[in-house]
């Protein structure tokens, strides 16, 4: 058979017999799959909520990541089990689509599977369970839409947005200065948001970090930050009203793609070649200067000669700028990326109000800040923090918060957090379940129970008695018909999430339920796992 127990009594799947194919069938396969998925979910469970804990992840090279972002944890965990990988994918797709709630979705899927397991024990066919879950998820999303509220904000009144971002940030390590961070995120999003079309291009927001300083020093730069320095130490470090030439060709003699040889057989030819070379350099620099550029940004390196000549022409330059940054720069400054020197014309130059090089701390770390770009409103959030892990984690947290703000700009429907939405859905699903005549009824009830897992985990992580608090909330929601009651994680004294100001986006929540249901259905439908053994 396919299951065995190791010396600690833990079941595992014997597979590793070389060359031999192994297969697990029927109910065993389902149970094994569920166990694997649950084990992934259990790892994440303790990270949920404002008082959730962090994980240390040590990579194969010994680098450390400390995070409580679900997607990041799963991504770096190196899950090898097939079903475990599905859960990782689940978290990732939530991350791509919504950007937040990556932990919640996995916890929900885990809970759904746990419920499914006991249904399987009762002999209910997996497909019926899947059907029931599907129906329940429809009810739940509908209920979410019903209890959602319109959320009013505009360019002047960004306070509600800040509140929402603060909810997201409160579960992260940056919650010490979540107010400041939330403001930064919202300002960044509002700066690039297209309120007419209700869209935000996240590519325009860059999050850069530099170790050192305090978290409080994190700032929003109205422009682009390049982690590069100006190529020659003596070039101007501050350029006002810069005209920027964005080049993807190196300041070097051309290298034709076709294979060729230049034969030198006389001294004259040698001389000619030398002059030719000199001319190349002169021309390159001259072309840059002639089109009126006051700053050259190049994707490649320069020769020492070119560098020196640029310097003599008082033309500051930045070299080795990455492709992504280059594109961003082009968008932001309204310039065109120029692949050849001959194509440089004044109208292809980008312009920026201010370009300056700044240095940090006692080391020689320098960065170039390009501000007040002409064409668009690209912004950069510049993160500082006590150590590298802190900066990385802050960057991830800010990314989540920025995504949330973007989602609100896209669609301004919100539901209330703190598990209140889940409890409300659970009540609705249970009610609906009673009206279903078939076996799916059980599955729907199980779904409702699984929904309780989220507030349960929230309460548990906050050090509250989980079952008791969730039961109280449920009873109260039923009694008062108030869907905004949730777990009081921060021990403020009220269960009303509306007055606590804890929001989440409606699409985020709906997506969570839909994605989790989908994956669970997928897992339930598997009744046969065939693994090709590792070939020699």
């Amino acid at each position: 058979m396919s299951l065995a127990f190791d010396e600690f009594g833990r079941p595992f799947i014997i597979i590793k017999e070389q060359g031999a194919k192994t297969r697990v069938r029927g109910i065993d396969a389902q149970k094994a799959n569920i166990a694997a998925a649950k084990s992934v979910a259990r790892t994440l469970r303790s990270s949920l909520g404002p008082k959730g804990m962090d994980k240390i992840l040590q990579s194969g090279d010994g680098d450390i990541t400390i995070t409580n972002d679900g997607a990041t944890i799963l991504d770096q965990m190196e899950v090898e089990h097939e079903i475990g990988k599905l859960m990782v994918e689940l978290s990732k797709s939530q991350d791509y689509e919504i950007g937040d709630g990556t932990t919640g979705v996995v916890v929900l899927a885990g809970a759904l599977l746990e419920q499914a397991e006991s249904l399987l024990d009762r002999g209910i066919h997996p497909l019926r369970i899947a059907e029931g879950y599907e129906m329940a998820s429809k009810v739940a999303t509908k209920e979410l839409a019903r209890i959602s509220e319109k959320f009013e904000f505009d360019a002047e009144n960004i306070e509600p947005l800040i509140q929402t971002c603060m909810t997201t940030l409160s579960s992260k390590i940056v919650n010490r200065c979540k107010r400041e961070m939330a403001e930064i995120c919202v300002k960044a999003v509002m700066a690039v948001a297209d309120l007419e079309r209700k869209d935000v291009n996240l590519d325009l927001i860059k999050v850069e970090g530099k170790v050192g300083g305090k978290l409080e020093d994190t700032m929003l730069v109205n422009g682009i930050v390049l982690d590069k320095d100006i190529s020659h130490p003596q070039m101007a470090k501050e350029i006002k009203d810069a005209k920027i030439a964005i080049l993807t060709c190196p300041f070097e003699p051309p290298k034709p793609k076709t294979k060729h040889k230049i034969e030198i057989d006389t001294a004259e030819k040698y001389e000619e070649l030398r002059q030719q070379e000199e001319k190349y350099f002169n021309d390159m620099v001259k072309q840059c200067k002639d089109c009126g550029a006051t700053l050259v940004i190049c994707q490649w390196g320069f020769d020492d000669e070119a560098n020196s000549m640029l310097m003599q022409q008082k033309l500051p330059a930045i070299r080795w700028v990455g492709g992504v940054e280059l594109e961003l720069l082009a968008i932001a400054t309204g310039g065109r990326i120029v692949p050849r020197f001959t194509e440089l014309t004044p109208e292809k130059l980008g312009s920026a109000g201010m370009v300056k090089e700044v240095s940090f701390g006692t080391t020689k770390e320098r960065m170039v800040i390009i501000e007040d770009c002409a064409a668009s409103k690209a912004v950069t959030v510049f993160v500082r923090g006590g150590n590298k892990m802190m900066v990385d984690e802050t960057k991830r947290s800010l990314h989540d918060a920025i995504c949330v703000a973007r989602n609100l700009v896209r669609s301004n429907n919100i539901v209330y957090g703190g598990g209140s939405a889940e409890v409300a859905c659970a009540i609705a699903v249970e009610e609906e379940a009673d009206k279903i005549p078939s076996v799916e009824q059980y599955a729907m009830r199980a779904f409702a129970d699984a929904l309780d897992a989220v507030p349960n985990a929230l309460a548990e992580n906050s050090g509250l008695p989980p079952i008791e608090s969730v039961a109280t909330i449920k009873a109260q929601q039923l009694k008062d018909k108030n869907p905004f009651l949730g777990v009081d994680c921060k021990e403020i004294g009220t269960n009303d999430m509306k007055s606590q100001g804890v929001f989440e986006t409606l699409i985020g929540k709906q997506q969570q339920i839909l994605l989790a249901t989908q994956v669970v259905k997928l897992i339930l439908k598997i009744d046969d796992v065939i693994l090709a053994g590792e070939g020699q």
Partner: protein, 530 residues
């Protein structure tokens, strides 16, 4: 066959990976962090001990140091939490340059206290909450205790000297701290507030004793003039270049020489020489009397320079070139076609000087008066290495003090002030958070305790005396390690930089918070190395 039991874990991770959860994870990270703290603990304070570090690479280089950042940088750490501490020490070094040991020791003390709280079943989040509030209170107390003498130049200088002495007293330079404090303060004040440490060059020359170290007002380059060139140049005009002076290759891709007769080879060689000669003539045409190149200068061009009476210095490394350009105010150039565009460097006198056994080149009377060179002398390379690190720390602290001129008293005095403020807050706070605050105060007091212990003093006696004195309102009380008594730090002149202390407090709390929050450690399969 029986199915999976409810709470057993199926192994979903890759083979070789491991996962530690809950209490185990927390224990592992606390233990790791405390081990790192204990490792560097004994180097803290004026009577701290040094460590010998031997590298595993070929040569088995030995470093003797008591600089926390250097020690931690060199050791190989496997424990994730320990890595966090190593990282904050590095960040502290980059940001303010000193306090690298204190920050690690303080963070590990915080964790030691946190461990006890966790054992008493206080939720980690409650501990963090308490630590945060305590940190705010401590920060406020620190700000209140700081004094600012920036307005009064004489007193500010006195402050700087005292800070330098305090910093140096825990290092190898402690015997000559008066001397080095003066060196460091002079050097930093020359910068006139720009805080650009690049302008201060430190040269190590074995020989003599530490006392013979001196500050030179010019710039010293550890190179020599070419053979037969003038050894002393007055009113020098300097061209600083980064250009190949060996053979000037043609960079057009695919070019190669192919000839069919010997004479043609000779012709091309001639052309090559012509090219080099023209380059040299162009350089000489600038009207310079000193030429400094980053790259090699071959004999042929050197000879041309000698004939023209131009001193040529080859192979000045990149740092040297950049610094020279900075101090003499010249451009670094690589092409020589437009003499009118190039800014030449200048200085009053270039001469060859002897330091110990070596000949070096000194540029004095440079255009920018801010730069200077500190020449360190000492009995062995190890001493010199440690002396440079110590001096670097002192210089960093001084520059941060110039930027933020607030100072506070050292000798454990500031820690006592902070711990008093935190304890007052704890007394007023209801709930379990107050437990965490008390622990924070205890961790703060651990620093003077360790300093006493390292000095072989009766720590419990002294710290409690100090605590009593602070409670009685004597706010300047601290430990005078040299006499082994409690005393007034204002009179002893033990002063520290406010910014360093603040940074220690903030980053240590941040790091401790990060480690306490962890409840799960997942280690991936180590990458197989051949």
């Amino acid at each position: 066959m029986a199915t999976a039991a409810g709470n057993a874990d199926a192994s979903v991770l890759r083979e070789g990976a491991s996962e530690e959860k809950g209490e185990h994870a927390r224990l592992a990270s606390f233990v790791g962090a405390m081990a790192i703290g204990d490792l560097v603990k004994s180097t803290l304070g004026p009577k701290g001990m040094d460590k010998i570090l031997q590298s595993v690479q070929r040569g088995r280089n030995v470093t003797v140091t008591n600089d926390g950042a250097t020690i931690l940088k060199s050791i190989y750490v496997d424990n994730p939490a320990a890595k966090v501490l190593v990282d904050i020490s590095k960040a502290q070094d980059d940001e303010v340059g000193d306090g690298t040991t204190s920050v690690v020791v303080f963070a590990s003390e915080l964790l030691r206290q946190a461990e006890q709280l966790v054992n008493q079943h206080v939720h980690p989040m409650t501990i963090i909450q308490g630590f945060r509030e305590a940190c705010e209170a401590a920060k406020a107390a620190l700000e209140r205790a700081a004094s600012d003498n920036a307005g009064d130049e004489a007193r500010f200088r006195q402050d700087l000297t005292n800070i330098a002495k305090t910093t140096l007293s825990s290092k190898i330079l402690t015997n000559d701290k008066e001397h080095f404090a003066k060196l460091a303060v002079d050097a930093v004040l020359r910068l006139k507030g720009s805080g650009d440490l690049e302008m201060i060059q430190i040269i190590q020359k074995p020989g003599g004793s530490l006392k013979d170290s001196f500050l030179d007002e010019g710039f010293i380059l550890d190179k020599r003039f070419g053979v037969g060139q003038p050894k002393r140049i007055e009113n020098a005009k300097i061209l600083i270049a980064n250009t190949p002076m060996d053979t000037d290759k043609i960079k057009i891709y695919g070019a190669r020489v192919r000839v069919d007769s010997m004479t043609k080879v000779a012709e091309i060689e001639q052309a090559e020489r012509e090219k080099m000669k023209r380059k040299c003539e162009k350089i000489i045409g600038y009207g310079i009397n000193c030429f400094i190149n980053r790259q090699l200068i071959y004999n042929y061009p050197e000879q041309i320079f000698t004939e023209a009476g131009v001193a040529a210095i080859e192979h000045a490394d990149f740092d040297g070139i950049e610094r020279l350009a900075l101090v003499t105010g010249g451009d670094i150039c690589s092409t020589f076609d437009n003499p009118e565009d190039v800014q030449l460097g200048s200085c009053d006198l270039i001469e060859e000087v002897m330091i110990g056994e070596d000949r070096l080149i000194r540029f004095s009377g440079v255009a920018k008066g801010e730069a200077c060179t500190i020449v360190l002398r000492g009995a062995s390379e190890h001493i010199l290495g440690e002396a440079e690190r110590s001096l670097h720390d002192a210089l960093c602290v001084l520059t941060s003090t110039v930027k933020d001129s607030r100072v506070i008293y050292g000798g454990g005095c500031s820690e006592m002030i902070m711990s008093k403020a935190v304890e007052e807050l704890a007394a007023k706070t209801p709930g379990k958070r107050s437990l965490a605050m008390e622990c924070f105060a205890k961790a703060l007091r651990a620093i003077p305790t360790i300093i006493c212990d390292n000095g072989g003093l009766d720590s419990s006696e002294l710290v409690s005396q100090m605590r009593a004195a602070h409670a009685a309102g004597k706010k300047n009380t601290g430990i005078n390690i040299l006499t082994g008594e409690v005393g007034d730090m204002q009179q002893c002149g033990v002063v520290e930089c406010f910014r360093v202390k603040q940074q220690v407090l903030l980053s240590a709390t941040e790091a401790a918070e990060m480690i306490i929050r962890v409840d799960d450690i997942i280690k991936c399969t180590p990458r197989q190395r051949e």
